[in-house]
């Protein structure tokens, strides 16, 4: 990797707060002048990463370089970055002018130069003539503009923006997005932008970094991320999508919803289990005809402004979301076509739960820090390390957490057309993946039970 190309180099950053791992080996390289967005749901570690970049938090492990210089242990006031805070953080005891001039005054810039630069910065954010206003008298949008002016006036190498538009209303947010993009072009500074709003990320960025559970899921251009999501999390988080279980029959042929479809992906091997992603706007829907690839019945139809959003059930019980300019009545028989290039196939990250465990005795095994009853194992002694597999659909979840062998909470829900694929975080922090037909909500606390015959044990 040629160092001179990158203005920001974050290498193998890890960070934990107590037991909780917030960042897990995150690496990120940003080119000069790039507009990079770190995107993820709340609690994915994106703000922590930005704070580490700004110097407000320290990484437990890893190295940070800006402009080639190692700044891992440099305090925030000596870093060549400036931050726009989510809650603006304008100094309430200073007026607009003094807020914006704060950084320059500290650098002992000459008074007349400060004045010219403050006026220029105010003009840039469209706040001319607001110099002497009390910051508390400004609206949210105006405060945010002042906060941006206060940061860019220092001509930082990198501008960090921590969900800067989150507190604004929709209309204002759209306007500010366009202005930020314009500003980025004019200033030529590198922007690192943190948001949980995927639309904002797609609109603004040159590069999007999708994060979840402290890990980078995918890095790419907005078009790449949208069209070629790397895993089901990214596909689900960016835009709307239908995510289904499938099997790669052979190159360019995938089987899902009980039938075979032509696709463009290859090189995954024969009969490989895969996730299939189809964007709702990529499904062509028409009144029932013989030339359709598959059929269904319209379950619901909602007007969404530009298009209609319909849920269609196939005869074998799959539910597909479709967006189209034409509306079809609820109950109507319809036919659907999907172009091969619109079928995105992703290698499955896992096909069943695998744990490292240890035998307690011939009928008890310890996995995820708990004791489970299993079928009698012949020839494996107590205390021996084993590999344990549990199929996704063999994990039972129950409302009453006392009924389970252990307790967990629902972290991520993925609808797979005919069932839900849940990620459960267990008491000891490991992830358990569950296929279920029951409806659970995010952060539900559940009891977890596994039948003895469903625990498959192998010697290591």
């Amino acid at each position: 990797m040629n160092n001179s190309n990158f203005i920001i180099e974050l290498s193998h950053i890890s960070k934990s707060f107590g037991e909780k791992v917030v960042l897990d080996d995150v690496s990120l390289y940003v080119k000069k002048g790039e507009f990079v967005t770190i995107l993820g749901p709340s609690g994915c570690g994106k703000t922590t990463l930005l704070r580490i970049l700004a110097g407000f938090g320290t990484a437990d492990e890893g190295e940070i370089k800006i402009g080639g210089a190692d700044i891992t242990n440099v305090p925030p006031h000596e870093r060549p970055v400036n931050t726009v805070f989510q809650r603006y953080a304008l100094f309430p005891h200073l007026n607009v002018y003094d807020n914006i001039a704060f950084g320059l005054k500290l650098k002992k810039v000459k008074e007349d130069e400060i004045e010219t630069r403050v006026r220029k910065a105010l003009k840039m954010v469209g706040m001319t003539d607001y110099e002497w206003r009390d910051v508390n008298s400004l609206s949210g949008g105006q405060q945010q503009r002042v906060a941006i002016a206060r940061a860019i006036i220092n001509r930082p190498q990198v501008l960090l923006l921590d969900e800067p538009l989150a507190a604004l209303d929709l209309k204002m947010r759209k306007d500010m997005q366009m202005e930020l993009k314009e500003m980025h072009k004019t200033l030529g500074i590198t922007f690192v932008y943190v948001t949980h709003d995927q639309e904002e990320a797609l609109t603004l960025s040159d590069t999007i970094v999708v994060m979840s559970e402290g890990k980078v899921q995918q890095i790419g251009t907005p078009i790449d991320i949208y069209n070629e999501p790397k895993n089901s999390f990214v596909a689900d988080f960016i835009g709307e999508s239908n995510i289904l279980n499938g099997t790669m029959v052979k190159d360019k042929l995938v089987r899902f919803m009980g039938q075979e479809f032509e696709c463009v992906d290859k090189g995954m091997g024969e009969n490989a289990p895969v996730d299939v992603v189809i964007r709702p706007e990529d499904v062509y829907i028409m009144a029932k005809t013989d030339s359709g690839m598959f059929e269904g019945v319209v379950q619901s139809c909602i007007f969404k402004g530009v298009h209609y959003e319909m849920l269609v059930t196939t005869p074998n019980g799959y539910e597909i979301m479709i967006q189209d300019y034409n509306a079809f009545e609820v109950g109507q028989q319809v036919s659907m076509i999907i172009k091969p290039s619109d079928i995105h196939v992703m290698q499955k990250e896992r096909i069943c739960n695998t744990f490292e465990g240890s035998m307690i005795d011939s009928t008890h095994v310890e996995i995820m820090g708990k004791e489970f009853v299993c079928n009698e194992q012949v020839g494996i002694e107590g205390g021996e390390k084993v590999e344990v597999e549990v199929a996704f659909d063999k994990v039972e979840l129950m409302d009453n957490k006392e009924d389970g062998t252990m307790v967990g909470d629902v972290r991520f829900i993925l609808y797979k057309g005919d069932h839900y694929h849940l990620t459960i975080r267990t008491e000891n922090g490991s992830n358990l993946y569950v296929d279920t037909h029951d409806v659970w909500d995010d952060r539900d606390i559940v009891g977890i039970k596994i039948q003895p015959e469903d625990i498959k044990i192998k010697r290591v």
């Binding site: 925030p76 400036n82 931050t83 953080a89 309430p92 005891h93 704060f102």
Partner: protein, 255 residues
């Protein structure tokens, strides 16, 4: 019953125990012993060097006490509000704890302590006693404003290139002024009028203004005592106004 009428008992209470006594002080201050209107009480204060000196001395003691309280209390409040160790609030409670004990008991204990350490009672003991008694009233409001201060202001200042020292002088100190002002109000005003601490800690050798008023009233010189009280009230009122104009939000820091 309308909600407004609930305030009636309080209104009566305030009338009898606050407004009426104030009116009486005002009335007595402008009367002689026979009840005729006069300004003699005030001219006596101005012309008698003893009372005027006590007055100036009291204000001096109050200023010294307040300044010492700020100097000791601010760092204490700052450490309390920042230190990880103090998150549990145990330290805060320890600082506030003396306030739970009656002021006279505390002062008598101070006298006993000075005796035990064979330190002379007098001016030094007086200042010590005052600071000891009123320090919590300075620490608490400052601690409160610092505690409630949005941490992002500090981060914003650091982000803009301020060293820890500059962060303090340019951001933390100005933003904590409301707390300091509340503290000043809560220390300066009571120290002007206090007399028990002065009596006990100086063996009655040093008189503060409060003592003078108390002596006059005890000796039946109600009119002169009332005039002195009025003068003190005016001074307290003036400091109140002064700090009000300095910071519009001084009550923010109290609780």
């Amino acid at each position: 019953m309308k909600r407004g009428s609930w305030s009636f008992p309080y209104f009566i209470f305030l009338l009898i125990f606050v407004v009426l006594p104030l009116a009486l002080i005002f009335l007595y201050a402008f009367q002689d012993a026979e009840g005729n209107f006069t300004l003699k009480n005030f001219s006596k204060f101005i012309s008698s060097p003893e009372a005027a000196n006590t007055f100036v001395y009291s204000i001096g003691v109050a200023i010294i006490t307040t300044v010492l309280c700020i100097l000791l209390g601010y760092p204490a409040a700052y450490i309390l509000s920042n230190s990880e160790l103090c998150r549990s609030k145990v330290m805060v409670v320890l600082f506030i704890l003396p306030m739970w004990i009656n002021i006279l008991v505390r002062t008598l204990a101070t006298v006993a302590l000075f005796d035990f350490l064979r330190l002379p009672l007098g001016e030094g003991a007086l200042i010590f006693g005052m600071v000891y008694n009123f320090l919590p009233f300075m620490i608490y409001p400052i601690y409160n404003t610092l505690q409630k201060m949005d941490h992002s202001y500090i981060e914003a200042a650091q982000d803009l290139g301020a060293s820890p020292m500059t962060v303090f002088t340019k951001v933390v100190a100005p933003l904590s002024m409301p707390g300091v002002m509340s503290g000043v109000m809560m220390v300066f005003m009571p120290t002007i009028s206090t007399f028990a601490i002065a009596e006990l800690l100086t063996m009655n050798n040093i008189k503060l203004f409060g003592t003078t008023i108390q002596e006059n009233i005890n000796n039946g010189m109600w009119n002169y005592g009332a005039a002195l009280s009025l003068i003190m009230l005016v001074i307290i009122f003036a400091t109140n106004l002064f700090s009000d104009s300095e910071e519009q939000t001084n009550n923010e820091g109290i609780i």
